[in-house]
Amino acid sequence: MPTLTYRDALNQALREEMQRDPGVFLLGEEVGVYQGAYKVSRGLLEEFGPMRVVDTPIAELGFAGVGVGAAMAGLRPVVEFMTWNFAVLALDQIVNSAAKILYESGGQVPIPIVFRGPNGAALQLAAQHSQAWESWLAHIPGLKVVAPATPADAKGLLKAAIRDDNPVIVLEGEMLYNTKGDVPEGEHVVPIGKADVKRAGTDVTLICHSKTVVPALKAAEQLQEQGVSAEVVDLRSLRPMDEESLVASVVKTNRCVVAEEGWPHCGIGAQVVDIIQREAFDSLDAPVLRVTQADVPMPYNKQLERAAKPSAEKIVAAARRVCYLD
């Protein structure tokens, strides 16, 4: 199996889907001539031409609306946001148009659109550009939200998102684009709504997604050295959420820690905890703990930024607490 970066896996998914279906096209800032702010669309303008790889003005609400209109007209647009911090400007199109038109048209007008781009903090981009938006987006009925952590999942979930007849949000990560992994060639589609056990274990379940999968796996390594067997479950899909897999894991381990990049209040982890306390109540040996970003705007200062982010150390500490080791 070839080893690809996350960025090239996304590129491969876009290329294969554009080759497969002439209705698929890409639009966004710098996606064409510049080949993408993060080079995800490298080579696509050359291969598919300016009708299918469209550079837009710096006007998120506008080009998101163009995308929704194209989807209403039967195309399958992929709208790239340079980051999800900028997509906040387009929320009206995402939330009020894309997510609701199928419902408001009595099921007559599907919106097969993908909104994608990097989400969450990178390094020292400060408060306005270091935000994890998934709980905002996953809150909305009518949207699907996926957050791949590995190159293989990035390819498989983007392909699934493009083929889905509903609006799908694909949350990528600036810090993930350069990560490498084995990526199946050709027809590799990861179904939306399925979590993935990234590491099996018996003592505690670490639930994570996107960028937190990395510290969660690192935490599991450290816990192993301390005699604690941790299971790492990658949500992959935030809406719909794979309740069955989460519950199955917690029923096995009896203890759970949920990690996410977002803020604690009303976060994705809060939703996960809701599922677990409801569906696995009698299997819980300890309250579920969460590891999140500190409940503050992201500091610019390097040390403060590190302190504010979820980390392997914080996940280890939480896991030890739910195992009653500390």
Binding site: T202, G227, N254, F281, D282, S283, L284, D285, A286, Y324
Partner: protein, 434 residues
């Protein structure tokens, strides 16, 4: 600060108490933990202890008087405090005698741990150390611990939680589960070969404890035994058997056999039990939810301790086998059980079980029924004891047998007659030849 002394609930079902005797009198100095009085509950006479330091005043209940739980019966005042000024806290009536019994402590945990009134501050409460007031609150336990305890029939109130704030968590129940399984372990083979400790000795890592995953056999034991003592209504019958003649017979037979094997007391018990079962089919039965299966064949399971568990290989048609056959077969099955070499058909299908802890000098014990069987016999040690016969004290070898019965199948008298037949056979081994 005055502390009210209440009639406390000293047993889970106690609704009123009779004050048997005051140990402290009006004006006596008392310290926390001192016995103030003896109180007769619905079950026993218990000590009522002081919950505060000070002087006992306002004793309002006389010896012999019965008062409801929650009634104030005295006050402990701080030195120098005026008695009359001591406001009396409302009685914790809500926690007692009503529908809230689950919040009352078990009589085993009475000392220093009794319900106290959720009194309006500043009265009474301040003098009571905070942790003891927790008793009036629901038991703290994780949902998982509650489930395990419920399934295993363990009373959470008897456990000490090791989690935060005394929360009972899964690991607190692991020891309990082990304790319950220990009962029916028994082996008919020589003591030297017993796996004495079934706790694996892990390599020392310096860790305060080691989690050892449940082996398959341990999971099965946990499941099966928990499925027994919980849902199966056990009761127990004990009798003491004179083993002089059986011992003589055994010695004679073993002399006869020489090197060709040895007959143990357990073999004799198995044989006698099998024969007694042919006469008391009611005890040779399986409970099957909507019917009872009375067996015509007698297959006796013999509990064998193995590394990290126990297993009950079956002596089939034990009633038709000679003592020597039973002895050889038991020896062979036990040996292979310890080597994990038993075939499933060799440890399933027993109609009755025998568990022997005599080799561990256990006088008597109660064994947990192996469902669906209706009874199990727990065999204690054979030991010399003084016995009165014809007005004289004689030294006789005696052995205690305890029969655990499933009341859904075997009623008290039925179990008792079976046990009597068994006793007669053992006391007169020749009867086995009849």
């Amino acid at each position: 600060m005055a502390t009210t002394v209440f009639m406390e609930a000293l047993s889970p079902t106690m609704e009123e108490g009779r004050l048997v005797k005051w140990h402290k009198r009006e004006g006596d100095a008392v310290k926390v933990g001192d016995t103030l009085a003896e109180v007769e509950t619905d079950k026993a006479i218990m000590d009522l202890q002081a919950r505060a330091d000070g002087m006992l005043r306002q004793v309002s209940v006389a010896e012999g008087q019965t008062v409801p739980v929650g009634k104030e019966i005295a006050v402990i005042v701080a030195p120098g405090e005026t008695v009359g000024a001591a406001p009396v806290a409302p009685a914790p009536a809500a926690t007692t005698g009503s529908g809230k019994r689950e919040t009352l402590k078990d009589s085993l945990t009475v000392a220093g741990n009794v319900a106290t009134a959720p009194a309006p501050p500043p009265v009474a409460v301040a003098a009571i150390p905070a942790p003891t007031t927790a008793d009036a609150a629901p038991i703290k336990a994780s949902p998982l611990a509650r489930r395990i305890a419920k399934e295993a029939g363990v009373d959470l109130k008897r456990l000490t939680g090791s989690g935060p704030g005394g929360r009972v968590i899964r690991r607190d129940l692991e020891g309990v589960a082990v304790g319950r399984e220990a009962a029916p372990v028994a082996v008919p083979a020589p003591a030297a070969t017993f796996p004495v400790s079934r706790v694996p000795s892990p390599e020392r890592t310096g860790a305060p404890y080691e989690d050892v995953p449940l082996t398959q056999i341990r999971k099965t034991i946990a499941k099966r035994l928990a499925a027994s003592l919980g849902p199966v209504p056990h009761y127990f019958l004990t009798t003491e058997v004179d083993m002089e003649r059986a011992a003589e017979a055994r010695e004679a037979l073993n002399r006869e056999l020489g090197d060709e094997g040895r007959i143990s007391f357990n073999d004799i018990v198995v044989k006698a039990a099998a024969l007694a079962l042919t006469r008391h089919r009611a005890c040779n039965a399986w409970f099957q939810d909507d019917h009872i299966r009375y067996w015509n064949e007698v297959h006796v399971g013999v509990a064998v301790a193995v590394e990290d568990g126990l297993i009950t290989p079956v002596i089939r048609h034990a009633d038709r086998k000679s003592l020597r056959e039973i002895g050889l077969e038991t020896h062979d099955l036990a040996q292979r059980a310890r080597n994990r070499r038993l075939r499933p058909e060799e440890y399933t299908g027993s109609t009755f079980s025998v568990s022997n802890l005599g080799m561990f000098d256990i006088d008597q014990f109660t064994a947990v029924i192996n469902p669906p069987e209706a009874a199990i016999l727990a065999v204690g040690s054979v030991a010399q004891k003084p016995v009165v016969a014809d007005g004289a004290i004689l030294a006789r070898r005696r052995m205690r047998l305890t029969l655990s019965c499933d009341h859904r199948v075997i009623d008290g008298a039925t179990g008792a007659v079976f046990l009597k037949t068994l006793k007669q056979m053992l006391e007169n081994p020749l009867a086995m030849l009849l």
